[in-house]
Symmetry: C2
Subunit: 430 residues, 2 copies
């Protein structure tokens, strides 16, 4: 096995250029670990003339992404992005042509994972995507291989670095979401259109893939319920701190006796825990297995180096001859997931109300909560300002989501309730 392993790279943006850089600068080490040299044979990008900080002149330039599928190569590296269009077409063509594929494309896998896994298996090739989820953390490998002896009942974590960066800055500076988002955009940490990051879509793609591996189910992105961090206020962050929590945008997938729930939402996690201390652009993933307990993996979730590192690890696996089914088991064995009715799930909740500071308000709210089986663990109001709007925060004991949402609905109709109540899950596992 000393023939070079030949790769063709589609997409030379931040990650693509990083992959070229690793394969060039760590070539000897990569060859030693792969058991043979890894050779770039062709590249493709939109703009040939663009300065990328790496020299690609030695490789065949292919103008059309789809054309890479026809190049003489062992694997195609898809770093174009997008759930459809050129990325989808190229990956399908490459797999159908008997080429392995390495992709960093979470959207593609979350939308078309079952089809692509089936295609790969039908042609005896592998589809690797370590870089698609938390680049700096080898979580796909951990879940597909390292924890393969376990029945996994949950996987969850901080899966979007931009959101975590914003929440961290909000906490540190006391500033509000819009203000910090703008700074993050100016610094290049957030994109001009931040929707995918701050509204939970990016984390949704990732948790969807992790759930498929953990539970052996087909990825169904349209069933992932997502809520982002736009409504989190700096007041929430302060209240949470008072109760000993930090607010994190968590992707959470749980398998309760075959009934699955996959969500992305801002949650309160205890601050003095490994998960609670994951700040800035760092990601973290926890897997719960029946024997291994709850390992947690932390690292940079995005960026040139970590993402390219993940792509190269996938390439080295292929060059070494290591092949694992796309979602850890044969594609035809992936079950169609049954989803739980989220209204039935019990959880502790954080509830922020904006009410008029006047006698009787708390009595009204408490009565509504009682009528919906929600019992109050603690309550805090900052300051007093009779007749004026104040924030009141409640933390509940375990209550069904359906009940607490119905209670919120009712509370919002109180004359003294000035804004829609804001609800967040509390996650205690770590």
């Amino acid at each position: 096995m000393t023939e070079p392993f030949r790769v063709a790279i589609a997409g030379l943006g931040t990650v693509g250029a990083g992959v070229v850089e690793i394969l060039q600068s760590n070539a000897a080490q990569v060859a030693m670990r792969a058991g043979r040299p890894v050779e770039i044979v062709a590249v493709n990008a939109r703009d040939k003339a663009k300065e990328r900080g790496v020299d690609v002149s030695a490789y065949e330039w292919v103008d059309d992404a789809a054309g890479l599928a026809g190049v003489e190569a062992d694997a195609v590296i898809e770093l174009i992005g997008g759930s459809d269009g050129p990325a989808y077409d190229l990956v399908k063509a490459a797999l159908a042509g008997g080429k392995h594929v390495v992709s960093a494309n979470k959207a593609l896998l979350a939308h078309h994972g079952t089809e692509l896994a089936t295609l790969a298996e039908g042609h005896g090739v592998s589809l690797n995507y370590e870089a698609a989820v938390a680049g700096g953390i080898p979580i796909i490998k951990a879940a597909r291989e390292g924890l393969a002896g376990n029945k996994m009942s949950a996987v969850y974590g901080i899966l979007n670095g931009t959101s975590n960066f914003i929440l961290t800055k909000m906490r540190e500076s006391g500033r509000d979401f819009d203000d910090v988002l703008k700074e993050a955009q100016d610094l290049g940490y957030a994109e001009a259109d931040p929707t995918f990051d701050v509204d939970g879509v990016d984390a949704g793609h990732k948790i969807c893939l992790l759930a498929s591996i953990a539970f052996g189910v087909q990825p169904e992105f349209n069933k992932v319920r997502m809520r982002g961090i736009r409504e989190v206020t700096s007041a929430d962050i302060n209240f949470a701190a008072e109760f000993g929590y930090r607010i994190k945008l968590l992707g959470i997938a749980k398998d309760r006796d075959g009934l699955i729930n996959i969500t992305v939402e801002p949650c309160l996690v205890p601050e003095a825990t490994p998960l609670g201390t994951v700040e800035n652009a760092y990601n973290a993933v926890v897997v719960k297995g029946d024997f291994v307990d709850t390992p947690l993996l932390t690292g940079l979730g995005a960026g040139r180096g970590p993402t390219a590192s993940a792509v190269v690890a996938d390439i080295i696996d292929l060059a070494r001859g290591l092949h694992v089914p796309t979602f850890g088991i044969p594609a035809k064995a992936l079950k169609k997931p049954d989803f739980i009715d989220p209204a039935t799930i019990k959880q502790h909740y954080y509830l922020r109300l904006t009410v008029t500071d006047q006698p009787g308000v708390i009595a009204d709210v408490s009565a509504i909560l009682r009528d919906h089986d929600a019992s109050i663990e603690s309550m805090v109001q900052h300051g007093r300002d009779p007749g004026q709007p104040v924030s009141v925060v409640l933390v509940t004991h375990d209550v069904k989501r359906g009940d607490i949402e119905a209670a919120c609905e009712e509370i919002s109709k109180l004359k003294s309730c000035l804004e829609k109540p804001y609800l967040m899950r509390i996650e205690h596992q770590l």
Copy 2:
């Protein structure tokens, strides 16, 4: 590949029984992931009659561990333990006989790793040992495969659960080492002879193996410098907290331009970080790579479930046909490590002195430190008790270990210095 993958298990203690339990209770899942059933064909232990909580009556019983090498099996699972004796003999015989080996034996690998890796490669078989280092954390796989694109310059972490449990209890209760150790022994968390755990030997075995994978060098356990936690006092823990640190027994391996240093010693780590918040019996490992930055993996380091989970993951890899060289590169490519002179390494230090509370002591100490190029970042003394012994703690800026040790030597000769000064590294990386 639907023929069963046949394993023979040597050692049915806590871990061995756990492996049997997983292979029995998760059999369908394991078969799905492995691509074929995993079948136990033979077992061995010292006492056939012992109650183990699992039924092994269906498997061939082999009285003599060495006899397992002769059984018709694809892999031998060595869970006997010990760097020499039956474990060593069995592993050698199994590899020489063309059988794969899965082992949880850190001592064996740390002492004989190069020989066994060479033997395995010579016979075209694999030697897997995920369970040998931090059972609940797939760190061997992460280092050998997941981060394979990186030049790794450091790997370090909390590698001994017993020590971390003791340090955590000391911090929480304010009690001293001996007292907490006794409780840990009564609870079964520490062994009657706790030497391997609390004196750093166990962590030494583990960091030795991680260094070999990270840096591509032969394991040389006799070059690992180890110091345990027996001398850590509850006063140290309090002082450390005052400076914002927690005390952790860290295994640390660093590669400075080809010069390697491997140590186990109690260190101060910042408390509000993912590593600082790893408490009780949890382990944590950080890898520093040139592209991936510093991923951190946390999980239970020992115990039946996590360790057995790691063993089964290794078995599934073999059943799937995934084979990786023992230390990530061909055995013959492993370099003989060059070690750095530890005296030349610069670091921040924590220094606890027990001195007579009298004028001039601090002036004397400061002068000695100044004469050894050690500059003081902060200093604290609790209470005043003229003429009586008091603890004074100093935190230094970067200073060479040789210099600070020479300074300690000189300080210990002061008439006012009542005990040997106690020195700990401060690790800021995470």
